[in-house]
Symmetry: C2
Subunit: 474 residues, 2 copies
């Protein structure tokens, strides 16, 4: 194709802007930036560039626009929907912009560049006596800019909200090379349209986030981890209602773990013991925390658990008595993804429904999947307190050969599960986003007026369609 | 002018759509819809219509668009920036759409039509055992649609966030007569651009919100009201830092009241006693609440107040011992606006700065106003825990004749105060919005790129500029 000379000269101009060594064009050097975590997509890039400042990011976007070449921002490349996979584009790898610009203790805010890892930001907050409430397994590599661009969730959304809820201000380089400077530190600011909201969760399709101001929470001084056994999702939701009504201001995690998930962890992960003497159909892993050191969280929790045990809503409960025991309980949840990978043959869905529909959804979608493919194992687990279910279907036969045919049926399972999600007024992507993976699902399930509005917003901000094109919207 | 025949036929078509009696054209019947609360603006309307459903609202918008006539949505008409004042437009008065559509206890959500008053929605939530955390003095007349359109704040933002933070879903009639149907009840939903965010705080310039889904909080079972005396804003902020670090999950109000404000209330409002034996330079009115009935909030608070008294950070404290005493303490804050109105001669500013700049801002802006007009009284009070200061300047001479000359100097005071706000990275409208009143301030203080983006979004959604035109953007 005839774009090669233009691409070469673009690489030269990019190098003139940010320095030769920050413009990668060697296929080996670029390889890691072209694939997404699960290997579902592999892209192609004209170059991978590593800008060192907001000014450089904006200048390079302008060069891409002048050359008519697409630009794809990439944080830690830990997304699972292909949102950072390029297609004959320039990849903007943001990792050099990793500074923490300010920690304001009285304002309880942290200002960081986009390429700062979540882990580094959390550590800086903790050092100053604060909690940065966003917590993800990938915190060592995922970056603040990617967290904002995907509106990342995680296990503490229940208490602290999604990433969107933590953002007070942001700075972004726009597709035309201008810079939106809204790095504000304000809790209240009603001055016209809140344009920063658009960039949160836009997966880099409207511009490149270069820095953000995040709200911090007080560092908990007491916390409690508890594993509760129960009969299933309906009982877990009934327990959630009681917990929310009484412990809403301390409850920071409420994760649902069916026995099948525990058994996968016990079978495939070393060093994780069965948590209770007898098995139970399902479990809830919950955490309470508070900044008030004098509170007795265990006594507070017992007041809710004791009647629930009497009612039969709760079958058994283990409260962690040490950091080590807490860690063993938390491992049951943390290692569930790894256990499924080791088992093999999974078809995954990241969905949400209203809390009042969770139990019915899990039952109905489970039955539909079993009808579709007799013998499948259905594992609906996760952030029950947010109505966010990781609804995964597992091939009956663990042999890799069997998995191939099973995985080929993924579109049928997706259709089955997502149709039920839609019937319950739910979302086909609760926290992982759309990227490349779910564009078809978005087109199918979103309201046409909503889709039209999205397209109008995209066209208004990126009329040349060069900013991470083909993601979210087809 | 030649638009009269077109206007008449538009009124006829609107009446055919929603019924004669819901289309007001009589000047006397329309009068109440043409002025804003403080009487700063008076508008003109071709008609005031009262649609009864989302379908009717959308159909009437389409008729307005076909006729090339502007449409201005109006809730309880309690805004203070003129956002609902029409200019030869059709006013959409939403009060007939006042139904509560659903209260889902397990999901902890309330779904209401736009014309439902905040008070009715709060009462419905309370009846089901929940708190709708938005609380405003105008709750008896302000409406949910207006609350969303202005992203209303209030005294509990500290704990529960702005209106934006309470919205899970919304429905809106668009300028072209289509309907955006995003009345979702989900806590997590990462499916493309979050288009509903645009309509929150847009002051009706992008469409008419017709219904919303709001998050509810558990109803507090214990609450505590406390008035703390201190030496001024710097001491109050230092106390806030200690309170936030320890009581962040129970602290629902932290209001700053300088002695001047208390004296205005004592002088002008009947039945409000001086709260402490000796006067103090300033006070903080705070509230703690929790859904856990067994907690002893007073004992928890004492643990923070006792050392603060020893340090001299706190000079005295009164904890309400009864509902009646709580009400007397709260009246000091609630009646402060009334006291200022009765005193007369006020120039008001609704501003915010980072919490770390609050004390310096109050000192600097106070000195600048005193330099501008010797003898003025400066009253900076309000939502200190959010950095939101109601910074009001009071004429030295209470005589109405003196006030006239003083009020004519408002633009000079605005420039002085807002320039200092801008220097501290603050906002010239923390919670009241822009409307007509602050369009010039927005144009002056907003970043040009931000303003350009706002204009691009407006043009993308309302290309004919008929949706509440002239508000926010000039």
């Amino acid at each position: 194709m005839d774009s090669a000379p233009a691409a070469l000269s673009l690489a030269g101009r990019l190098a003139a802007e940010i320095g030769d060594r920050h413009v990668l064009t060697d296929p080996g050097a670029m390889a890691g930036y072209l694939v997404e975590e699960r290997g579902l997509f592999t892209g192609t890039a004209l170059a991978v560039i590593r800008p060192g400042s907001t000014r450089e990011t904006a200048a390079c976007l302008r060069l891409c626009r002048e050359a008519g070449v697409a630009a794809v921002p990439q944080g830690g490349n830990t997304g699972v929907c292909g949102g950072g996979v390029p297609d004959r584009a320039v990849v903007f790898a943001m990792g050099r912009m990793d500074r923490i610009l300010e920690l304001d203790p009285l304002n309880a805010t942290l200002t960081a560049e986009a390429g700062c890892t979540l882990g580094a930001a959390r550590a800086a907050a903790a050092e100053a006596g604060f909690l940065l409430p966003l917590s993800l397994p990938s915190e060592g590599s995922c970056q603040i800019g990617g967290n904002l661009s995907t509106n990342a969730g995680g296990a503490n959304v229940l208490r602290y909200g999604m990433t969107r809820d933590l953002v007070l201000g942001l700075e972004a380089a726009l597709p035309d090379g201008r810079v939106l400077r809204e790095l504000r530190k304000l809790r209240k600011d009603n001055t016209g349209y809140d344009v920063k909201q658009l960039f949160i969760g836009a997966e880099g399709t409207l511009g490149i986030i270069t820095a953000a101001v995040l709200k911090l929470a007080p560092l908990p001084r007491r916390s409690l981890t508890c594993l509760v056994a129960c009969d299933g999702a309906a009982a877990a939701m009934a327990l959630y209602a009681r917990m929310a009504a009484r412990h809403g201001d301390t409850l920071s995690m409420f994760e649902f773990l069916p026995r099948l998930g525990i058994e996968l962890v016990l079978a495939h992960c070393h060093g994780v013991p069965d948590p209770m003497e007898a098995p139970h159909p399902a479990y809830v892993l919950l955490q309470l925390d508070t900044p008030l050191a004098a509170r007795d969280l265990a006594a507070e929790l017992e007041e809710t658990l004791a009647p629930a045990l009497e009612d039969g809503l709760v079958r058994d409960a283990v409260i962690g008595q040490s950091g080590a025991q807490d860690a063993r309980l938390l491992a049951l949840r943390e290692r569930m993804a790894e256990a499924q990978t080791l088992r093999g043959g999974n078809i995954k869905h990241d969905v949400s429904v209203p809390l009042s529909a969770v139990a019915a959804f899990i039952a109905e979608a489970g039955a539909a999947c079993e009808a579709l493919w007799p013998g499948v194992q259905v594992l609906g687990f996760g952030h029950l307190g947010d109505g966010n279910i990781h609804f995964n279907v597992i091939c009956p036969d663990p042999a890799p050969t069997a998995a191939t045919a099973f995985l080929a049926a993924a579109p049928r399972f997706n259709r089955t599960v997502h149709d039920i999600v839609a019937r319950f007024g739910g979302s086909v992507s609760a926290e992982h986003g759309i990227g490349l993976l779910k564009r078809g699902e978005l087109a199918r399930y979103a309201d046409p007026v909503t889709l039209d509005l999205m397209r109008a917003l995209k066209a208004a901000i990126d009329p040349a369609n060069l900013m991470n094109p083909g993601k979210i919207l087809t």
